[in-house]
């Protein structure tokens, strides 16, 4: 009985030891993650696609981020500390307490986001957040389409006679399309109309094309209007390592000259000593003969 008790105690001790080590590892890992996140940024750009709320001020965590933000405009990417943030939109000059739209954003470090203020009525107002991928695609240009036009419904997007995006719903962004650089005319086709937009796509750029409702004297009409934004994409990480298992390139190795010079000096010295020894030996031989 005593033997069983001892065995059980030993097992429990080992299990506790393993568990504590696991917990320590998890705690250390979590600590590292926390430190990494503290040094990182996420990146946010905001697009105003809500005609009903007019020109607004934008607040993040209660502080003003943008002033006089107008319908149909998109900001540059702004670095924001990763984590949870409250974004609020208020009619220009009315202050954060009069916000017509308040939403919490969960932002991951290192990720760029497009946040779209969308909606036609107070009840429908919302922020739509899209994670972006701004890495370049080889020597190509990347383009992404956003259907932000209320009432238009599903759209198809074609370019140079080719269907690029089939059935893009309202309030959604398409996948990225990678195409050779050049001039393009893209056609947005809905059940109501077909509208064209011309774009110059450069290599290594990432272009966003937002379809929104046109404004006529302050009121939206049913036609599409386009807003473009183009940035230089981010390259992938460079290959700065070399194969350690191949023979070194002799020509590129740094040559250490001091040993070579030392060898030359030793050689000269040895030669000089040998010369004097030889001369002295010769003189000694001559003196002996005399």
């Amino acid at each position: 009985m005593l033997k069983i008790h001892l065995v059980l105690t030993a097992i429990i001790r080992r299990v506790l030891l393993v568990l504590s080590m696991l917990m320590l590892t998890v705690a250390l890992f979590a600590g590292m993650q926390g430190r990494a996140a503290a040094d990182s940024w996420s990146f946010v750009r905001i697009f105003h696609a809500s005609p009903d709320i007019g020109t607004v001020d934008v607040f993040m965590d209660g502080k003003k981020l943008l002033s006089n933000f107008q319908y149909g405009t998109v900001t540059a990417y702004t670095p924001v500390a990763a984590g949870m943030h409250t974004l609020q939109l208020a009619a220009i000059g009315t202050g954060v307490d009069a916000a017509v739209l308040t939403q919490t954003l969960a932002l991951q470090s290192g990720t760029p986001y497009t946040v779209v203020a969308l909606g036609t009525k107070a009840a429908d107002l919302s922020l739509h957040i899209f994670a972006d991928n701004n890495q370049v695609a080889s020597n190509l240009a990347k383009v992404r389409f956003y259907d932000m036009s209320p009432g238009t419904g599903v759209v198809d997007v074609s370019g140079q006679g080719n269907m690029l995006i089939n059935g893009l719903p309202y309030a959604q962004a398409s996948n990225y399309v990678s195409i050779p650089p050049g001039s393009y005319t893209f056609t947005f086709t809905s059940s109501r109309e077909s509208m064209r937009v011309s774009v110059q796509l450069k290599a290594w750029t990432v272009t966003s094309i937002f379809a929104i409702n046109a404004l006529n004297n302050g009121a939206t009409d049913s036609h599409l209007q386009f807003v473009q934004s183009q940035i230089t994409g981010m390259p992938g990480m460079p290959g700065t390592g070399s194969d350690p298992y191949v023979a070194a390139e002799q020509t590129s190795l740094p040559i250490s000259w001091p040993p070579v010079i030392l060898l030359a000096l030793c050689s000269v010295s040895a030669g000089t000593i040998a010369f004097f020894c030889k001369a002295r030996g010769k003189r000694h031989t001559e003196e002996t003969h005399v």
Partner: protein, 209 residues
Amino acid sequence: MRKFWSVHYSLLLLLGLALTFSSCGTLSSTSLKTAQPIVTTRQPTGMATSTVQPTAVANIPLPVRLLIPTLGVDAAVEQVGILSNGNLATPTGHPWDDVGWYDLGPRPGERGSVVIDGHLDRPGGYPAVFWNLSKLHSGDQVLVIDNQSHTFRYRVTQVAFYSPQAAPLQNIFGNNNGHYLNLITCAGDWIPSQHQTTLRLVVYTTLIT
């Protein structure tokens, strides 16, 4: 004895010839290292659609040397762009001794993320220009000198390792929140099948003066 002298003088002659030719080689290397100004059309990263007109070559300040005093690094700066595979290019003139400034990004001293890369090692595993980059610590200084003799001093703020697929590219190349210089090299183990190392090292620095 005569044989000894013939061998001795032959050795001296060979050494002399070797030294002469090596001096010529050094001279030509130095002359090649002189920065060649190139006309570039630049576009700020992370900005909305905009175009910058090309400027006269003489007026464009371009980085020519990178100095890291604590590591004894004093390297010539080449301009690098993007490879056909979409990755940042590396120096080609003197690949193991020079560093590469990403010329689609901002210039040293400008707002945004200036990026300079350099090789960790040479074929065979011998040290290259950024061999000791991982030894940098927060507070160490990095200096960039441009072709108009301006010196820009940066201070190390963070040393980070990433897998190449998970590196925060926007953070490295597109942070316009301040004046940054980010140094990149390889780290980790060599993967023969992928012909690259497992990690990338990024040293983040921020402008002091």
